[in-house]
Amino acid sequence: MKFSLSWLKDHLDTDATVDEIAAKLTAIGLEIEGVENPAEDLAGFRVAKVLTAEKHPDADKLQVLSVDSGDGQPLTVVCGAPNARAGLVGVLGLPGAVVPSNGMEMRKAAIRGIESNGMMCSARELDMGQDHDGIIELPSDAPVGTEYADYAGLDDPVFDVAITPNRPDCMGVYGIARDLAAAGLGTLKPVDAAPVAGEGPCPVDIRIEDRDGCPAFYGRAIRGVTNGQSPDWMQARLKSAGQRPISALVDITNYVMLTYGRPSHAYDLAKLSGAVTARRARDGETVTALNEKEYTLDDTMLVIADEAGVHDIAGIMGSEHSSCTDATTDILLEVAYFDPVRIALTGRKLNLTSDARSRFERGIDPGFVNDGLELLTRLILDICGGEASEVRHVGAPPAADRTVAFDPALTRSLGGMDVPHATQRDILERLGFTVTQTQDHWIVAVPGWRPDVDGAPDLVEEVIRIHGLDAIPSVALDRAEGVAQPTVTPEQARERRVRRAAAARGHHEAVTWSFLPMPVAEAFADGQPWVLANPISEDMKAMRPSLIPGLLMAAQRNMARGADSVRLFEIGRRYLRGKGGASDERLTLGLVMAGEKSSRGWQAGKARMFDAFDAKAEAMALLDAAGAPVENLQVMDEAGEQFHPGQSATLRLGPKNVLARFGTLHPRIAKAFDLNGAVMAVEIFLDAIPAKKGERSFTRASYAPPALQSVMRDFAFLVPDEVAAGDLVKAVKGADKKHVVEARIFDEFRGAGVAEGHKSIAVEVVLQPHQASFTEDDLKAISDAIVAAAAKRGAVLRG
């Protein structure tokens, strides 16, 4: 909402400065977004008179002027305007002034050999209009030497105020003046809405078919108007509000809306036929609105129509057809009360915003329908002439008689502020509330222009915002008694541990968009991904079903910037379909490694690339950090079609519960993301890791390091290719769980001496004696058990 100081002062009697007004507006909840004075842009432009005009000796189209700018000493100015002539009074820009239209600073300069001391300006150069055919011609009695901004009445600061949606009353200057007056910044001037006596009944029959949508429709005709330009003062006001002046009739309706928050509509009476009716639109009915767009309506929408068709999408925008033009002589004025919800729904359905809609849907003062019409009539008669009919009142606006029971002690118990009751009452009354004191509380009548106030907390807000929120003293919250307990859940604590473990292992945490391009999301989705109806772009359309693709895109950007090695991870949600149409959002860690694992070096020689075992190492380490029982995990395939079929796996706890997948990315996917070389990816499904059972306990299982020395034995097995090394180790470990404490593969070999279709796997086994040292017989028995267990997996001890 923008308005000028002079406009405000029409309604507020105040001596306050611009800064004081701006500060107070912000302090009472009408946030100032800016204060501008158009005069500042016009500094250095003066009213000046051309004394003489001679042809430039060296240029056909230029003249050399002698200009009186009020300093006594005439200035030489070179000018190319055809209308420049002796006796003309215009606007002179002096050196140092900045031309508003192009931001250029003016300087003294020689033009074709003659020094020019300024510039006579066109309207367009001063951003005062489109005219650029010649320089501005002011009336001959315009005071030479005066700043042009002063002369033109432009020295009028403009306030730009953000109006919150609960304050339709402040979508008019008068409401803002009322708030300022309540805050002690002046006196509110009364509204003069004395009725205009009409001549004869309104010639148009007004009907309401849809009483819910349009409880009241007041109308009157005015005949014989002249619809020219509105007066300068009104145009200046509208411009200060950021509105373009159109014609007197349109400007007047806008002016009343911007001053009192009261929208209205003027129809060209000549374009109407028969009765004018507020009714529901018919399904499929169309109207071309004032914005020149055609809208197709349905029967939830309220329209104002005559026998021929729709003339107004009620409360939102009038039709092109019956709008007032220069040729309009007779009009029908409409001041109505529309149901806010209906206006909001219609506006949203049509995706049509307007100044009228934003006021109607927030709530118009039902007590100001008639006053609005009278104010409007008076202005039209004053400016456009004509003769008004009597008012036709159809229907009645809802009664503005709401009351709220209020205990002023609530200001303390809710607002945290001690405000004397008398002060509270004074504030409320200055805002237009009426306070009636009963035995133990107040009955506060709410004025019609405050549809937002419907409860005691609203009144607390009124009191404290006018009194000033700065006066609220800070009061400490009580501390919880007893010992501090964790404030994060075990899952949140786990997330933190895993994050810092990943960073400690050399990975950089990224935060990537939750959105993906549709084809990417589909390539990584199991089911139907969540797809936005109104994405910001095609690249941000679907919610990610996996954390890998976002990281791949980030990896690609880094590679494109010349990064040799990328280690990125992210912890966030992947978005799946849940029960009952809700989402199922699962905390996930994604990790991508691309490029060099280690760069070429003077010690290591060539650069080393990442491989699938690097991915496995990260998966295992991070699962361990997450508290997963890593020693019990099974390596199984089926990591998904996004992965290399022979270099990827899942890590499962039992056959069903997949805790992670890892491995080399499928070359097809890497290529699709424009990534060269092998790319490793890990995805850990943090939500799948089982929670620790039982209560939080700090006591660990008791343990004492064994007193006896452990024994190491090596076994080399010949194993069929299809047997997984991990299964062999598991068999070895399981052969004698009491004594085999560790089994570790230290060699894997195929080739000379190893039969075709087989591999040689060497395992180092650590045996731990408990009560007594091993005897040779003990060791032989354990070895035999190990060999027997391995044999069950098809492994044969090599000779």
Binding site: T26, L414, G416, R465, I472, A476, V488, A502, H507
Partner: protein, 370 residues
């Protein structure tokens, strides 16, 4: 007798000369064998003692033993010297250029948003706030209706909401939460009262320009209890911002505002000054050279919201606030481009990220010094 003496002196001189002349351990060992070995000249001389009379032996014995001890010591000393020299020579050959680089162990980092969230959780833990979460793909009841924004509420339009075409089984429109406030609803519905939570997380608005990204992070705070008022809200915000910025001179300005889910409502500005072209939080915004910057929205939870969550608004009241985490991190650590937060540029992450061990603690200071 004289002969033996002469032999001894001669042997000593020979042995000493040969020991001193030994340049290698092998040569020295040859000398040792030549004199002290089984057939060595000193050993042979010692054997003659057996044939002597006791009187002669009493005289010659100590002389010969003395000779053998002297030569043995000299061999040992020479051996030690040769070994030392050999070690010195070996070490001299093992010199490396330690100005060469050592092998790198990759160093990772924690994203500023995560770091800021950990810091906030730490600060609020001290005030007794638990960390709550809720879905990002929400239904319009939790995101709007329960927060006193019915379908036609004009504030809905101000939220630039991302919608899905889907509806849940109860017919509620699915959308991306526009704020963390639906977690208020879920906390009250599921946990009842009293409540004291923060809810950090991702939020979304259909907005993208230099200072807005369609995804951003917010932290919600909610306290519902008996006898909570705006003074508690103000204290909580002051305490948290002072702790976060580690400055005692934080000055807040509460401005009346409007949110459908709070009544009364206040936007909160924090005073700042300019240092080296950057905004630095601290001081009152109306001091010379200072300004006010809006950092959060807050208010007393609207009675309708409390009632929508199944609580009695005559018994329970409290405050809520919401604050942008990305903005807080930028103000504290001096980043100036929000969009860089979500790019994953390794150069940026290395510069602005945090070490794994920089875990915020109250005792160590929740911030990480530059």
């Amino acid at each position: 007798m004289k002969d033996t003496m002469a032999d001894i002196d001669q042997l000593r001189a020979d042995a000493m000369a040969q020991i001193a002349a030994s340049r290698t351990l092998d040569t020295l060992d040859g000398v040792r064998v030549a004199f002290l070995g089984k057939q060595g000249s000193i050993s042979l001389l010692m054997k003659t003692l057996g044939k002597m009379t006791p009187e002669e032996r009493q005289v010659e014995g100590p002389k010969l033993n003395g000779l053998r001890a002297e030569v043995t010591d000299a061999v040992a000393a020479r051996k030690a010297a040769l070994e030392q020299a050999a070690l010195d020579a070996k070490l001299a050959g093992e010199t490396v250029d330690l100005s060469l680089p050592a092998a790198d162990v990759p160093v990772g980092s924690v994203h500023p948003v995560s770091q800021a969230m950990d810091e906030l959780a730490e600060i609020f833990a001290d005030l007794g706030f638990a960390v709550a979460t809720g879905p990002e793909i929400e239904d319009d009841w939790h995101n709007f209706t329960a927060l006193n924004m019915p379908d036609t509420h004009p504030a809905r339009a101000m939220h630039d909401t991302f919608y899905f075409p889907d509806k849940d089984d109860e017919g509620r429109a699915m959308l991306l939460r526009t704020h963390t406030s639906p977690v208020q609803i879920r906390s009250m519905v599921e946990g009842g009262a009293p409540v004291r939570i923060i809810a950090p997380g991702r939020t979304y608005r259909s907005d993208s320009d230099a200072t807005h990204t369609p995804m951003f992070h917010q932290i919600e705070g909610l306290v519902i209890d008996r006898n909570i008022h705006m003074g508690h809200l103000k204290w909580t915000l002051e305490t948290f911002l002072k702790a976060f910025f580690e400055r005692d001179d934080i000055v807040l300005r509460l401005r009346p505002s409007y949110f459908p889910f709070t009544e009364p409502s206040a936007e909160v500005d924090v005073g700042y000054s300019h240092e080296k072209g950057r905004r630095v939080i601290g001081g009152a915004g109306d001091e010379p050279g200072h300004g006010w910057m809006e950092v959060l929205g807050s208010g007393m939870v609207n009675r309708r919201v409390i009632a929508a969550c199944g609580l009695d608004p005559d018994e329970w009241q409290g405050f809520a606030f919401g604050c942008g985490i990305d903005r807080l991190a930028m103000l504290k650590y001096g980043m100036d481009d929000l969009r860089a937060f979500f790019d994953g540029d390794l150069r940026w992450l290395k510069h602005y990220g945090f070490a794994a061990l920089d875990v915020p603690t109250l005792s160590g200071g929740v911030g990480v010094a530059a």
